[in-house]
């Protein structure tokens, strides 16, 4: 018995000819049909929001009562309009949507997150977070390993839309041998038919043959890479085209906001029932070595408004109960601002977990602003402990296997 995929690989089947429904789409329909408030683990979606460049944690969760904060930040301190979480800490004034989620018990804040021997290089530290290994490197990403685990336990094997990222590149944390789809638009994700003298000619079949033939001939690793990638692309594009394109946003996303566009695309993918399990979006621009305040204020405003619209949209479509958002950044910033009204690379910073599945509240310890390591905060919670809590408490996956170690499980999520 051949699998459909084997037949496709051998070029023995016309690609998605006639009325054959791609298996991906069948899964998507099943997922949509079982949509209910009592989400089973297989419905659950994790949306990772990467704050690239190193987000200034101290100006995100603000220790407004701490004299050391005011001393360290003569020009950058936020002393107006901080949104109080308790007597010591408050959210940046532009995080009004997150404050509303906090009030509704849907925001968990893990303070002082980092790892031992912090690396102040963007790229080394990103790699550490992406692989969940303090060695970093080019291994599989921690969520790539999760997607691969889903394949191994037989959940939608090699489903090309299980992992999606908004943008043109697949982020390293989703990297593994399981395919992940970078999406820029659901509608344009297809091979454009070639117009031959007024008639549309299908080019999929010949290209499938060319790419399949090259698999045997081409140099490693490209032969297999190209062949597999084209198959994934066609599989995903057929699933997308077969989808009921009736999605209408049930929230107003901010205009001219790349992070809002990215999250809207993710919402469309989730709402359309395509079986997405992990989605990744990036908001860049946090490397604020100079004139930080206007830039950082705007970034947090964009983030907050985009997340608020995203949550409203998901709730409007009745899928809010099964979507968890989590932010991360490769490091925080130096406690003391530099002479350019900015901050240099730092270490520990807070993470947000947001959404209906969250057990709201503050977790971990706010790091001391006076007991420092070379001017930098000492971390209190290992980021892998947060990952483990999400993998085990939310995705119900074997956290210690996927992370290669045992980390404390924090009660960040509702049972």
């Amino acid at each position: 018995m051949f699998s459909r995929r084997d037949l496709l690989k051998q070029g023995l089947l016309p690609v998605f000819a006639g009325s054959a429904v791609p298996s991906v789409f069948a899964n998507g329909v099943a997922a949509a049909a079982t949509d209910s408030p009592n989400a089973t683990p297989s419905d659950r979606v994790l949306v990772l929001v990467q704050l690239a460049g190193g987000n200034d944690g101290l100006n995100t969760i603000i220790p407004f009562q701490d004299g050391a904060y005011h001393d360290a930040r003569p020009t950058l301190r936020q002393d107006q309009g901080v949104l109080r979480l308790n007597a010591q800490l408050g959210l940046h004034p532009n995080l009004k949507g997150l404050k509303a989620s906090w009030d509704a018990g849907q925001l968990a804040i893990v303070q002082g997150v980092g790892y031992p021997n912090p690396n102040l290089s963007h790229f080394a530290s990103m790699s550490i977070w992406e692989t969940a290994s303090v060695q970093g490197g080019i291994g599989d990403g921690w969520l790539g390993r999760y997607l691969n685990y889903l394949d191994q336990v037989g959940e939608n094997p090699n489903h090309a839309l299980e992992g999606v990222s908004a943008g043109s590149l697949v982020p390293p944390e989703l990297r593994s041998k399981t395919p992940v789809t970078a999406l820029q638009s659901l509608r344009t994700f297809r091979l454009q038919p070639v117009n031959e003298h007024g008639t549309q000619v299908d080019v999929e079949n010949p290209l499938m043959k060319f790419y399949s033939a090259f698999k045997g001939a081409g140099p490693a690793p490209f032969g297999a890479l190209f062949d597999t990638t084209l198959q994934e692309a066609l599989q995903a594009s057929h699933a997308l085209q077969a989808t009921d394109a009736s999605y209408q946003a049930k929230a107003t996303y901010p205009a001219k906001s790349p992070i809002a566009s990215s999250l809207k695309l993710v919402a469309e993918t989730i709402v359309s029932g395509l079986g997405v399990r992990v989605a990744h979006v990036t908001l860049g621009g946090f490397d604020n070595h100079s004139r930080e305040k206007p830039v950082h204020d705007k970034l947090l405003l964009d983030l907050d408004q985009a997340l608020a619209a995203f949550m409203q949209d998901l709730q409007g479509h009745g899928v809010g109960d099964r979507v968890l958002m989590m932010t991360w950044s490769e490091f925080g910033r130096r406690v003391k601002e530099n002479g350019s009204a900015g901050t240099d690379h730092g270490t520990a910073a807070p993470m947000f977990l947001l959404g209906a599945p969250v057990q709201g509240g503050l977790y971990g310890q706010q790091p001391s602003l006076t007991d420092l390591d070379n001017g930098n905060l000492k971390f209190g919670t290992d980021f892998r402990s947060v990952y483990a809590s999400v993998l085990q408490g939310y995705l119900q996956a074997p956290a210690s296997d996927l992370l290669g170690g045992n980390y404390e499980i924090l009660p960040l999520l509702k049972a």
Binding site: Q10, F210, Y211, G216, A217, S290, R291
Partner: protein, 486 residues
Amino acid sequence: MDDAPVTTSLAPASRPIWQRPVSRRAVLATGATGAAAAALAVLWKGNDLSQILDQVRNLTHGYQGALTGERVRIAHLLRRAGFGATKNELDHYAALGQAAATDALLNYSKISNATLESQLPSIDLSGGTRPTAGAIQSWWLQRMAETTRPLEEKMTLFWHGLLTSGLDKAGPAQLFTQNQLYRSMALGNFNDLLKAVSKDPAMMVYLDTETNRKGKPNENYARELMELFTTGIGHYTEDDVRESARSFTGWTLQGGKQLRYAMASQFVPRFHDAGVKTFMGKTGTFTGDDIVEMLVPLRATAVRLSTRLFSFFAYPNPEPEIVNHLADTFQKAHYNVGAVLREIFTMDAFYSEKAYRALVKTPAELVVQTLKATGTNARGYTAAAVAMAPMGQVLFYPPNVAGWPGGTSWINSSTLLTRINFASALIQRSRDSLTSQSLAQLSDTLVDANLSPATRDGLQGFAAAQPDDQAGLLFMLLATPEFQLN
């Protein structure tokens, strides 16, 4: 008197690795046998003899001897040292022969680029009008496609990817100026280049040296200068970062209400920290130039730059022997980059089977070679610059200070569809103006006439069935996996 036979010195083992063709044959043979056996087992069950024969032909097709013919070697050289060739360009360099073609590519200052310069849109930096991002992007794409000095543009792209600055912080006029700096110093002295870059307005804005003042150091440039531009991580301490930042204080930007429009850098002594610094074990009242002069001679810098250059032009993860040889060359040549390039382009390793199609065409390479193949007009450059974004590369806008990650990261399901769709869109636009060429001619220019047998048969069948459809044939070739590689 030594009367030992002189031939012993020519034993193969004594040849350094960079002068030995690196064979993929053994690897291929082993892999192909295993794969073929598995495929055959599946196919026998299907009992379809023609399928079996096709499969065997495809698996036995390889790159053995792909670079033995001089025309293919020159096409390979032009893909790597430039952006591929039109048929006329390939004919021209092939007529020179490999040695003279290599010389011509390297000694490009002797070749006039007047035709291109006269046809480029003017980028005006004076007065009130400022260039837009789109204007400088299409200007550069046109340079890449129409230059008579391909290596000059290719090295400019290399420096843009290594000594990165981007439109997210710097202005288009600043990046245009930086681009001209990279072009003018493309094959020059690395020491001089780094000193110039340290004072380049786009870089000063991008990595915040502009705000780095005495008593208020900003570490951004100091860190990336070591981590990304010279030694790489692991060769310096956090104290070195801090002391280096102090040394670079004093440079500021002039002329422009907003930083991104300031076009002139100048040294202001009162902003410079003239105090004693300790950097990498040395102590003195260092300036930024002093820091560059201490970093460039380090072996780690030579090794890192050599690795980057060889990986950019030949294949990734070069053997340590090759890297060491190139690093030696770099140091003996007093940090002259052109000397390293000459060494790379004359190595057997550069023409080895391991190097053949060992790189994915970057979006810039893919777009420019597609433009060359379709002969699009100037209006096409603006659209082409926009079309690069969904392929993952926007000129003058790298994702971060490390430049583009490159390699296999260019290829995912989204970018592959975009690459193929770009060829389709260009073909539609130029359908009526294409020069009539046979499959053999197109395949010679675009893919070294080296296609897997099934693809070749498919294209021959297409050409026979649709003899008048030049556009369809060209599209099919541009969409092949072979063309996606460089």
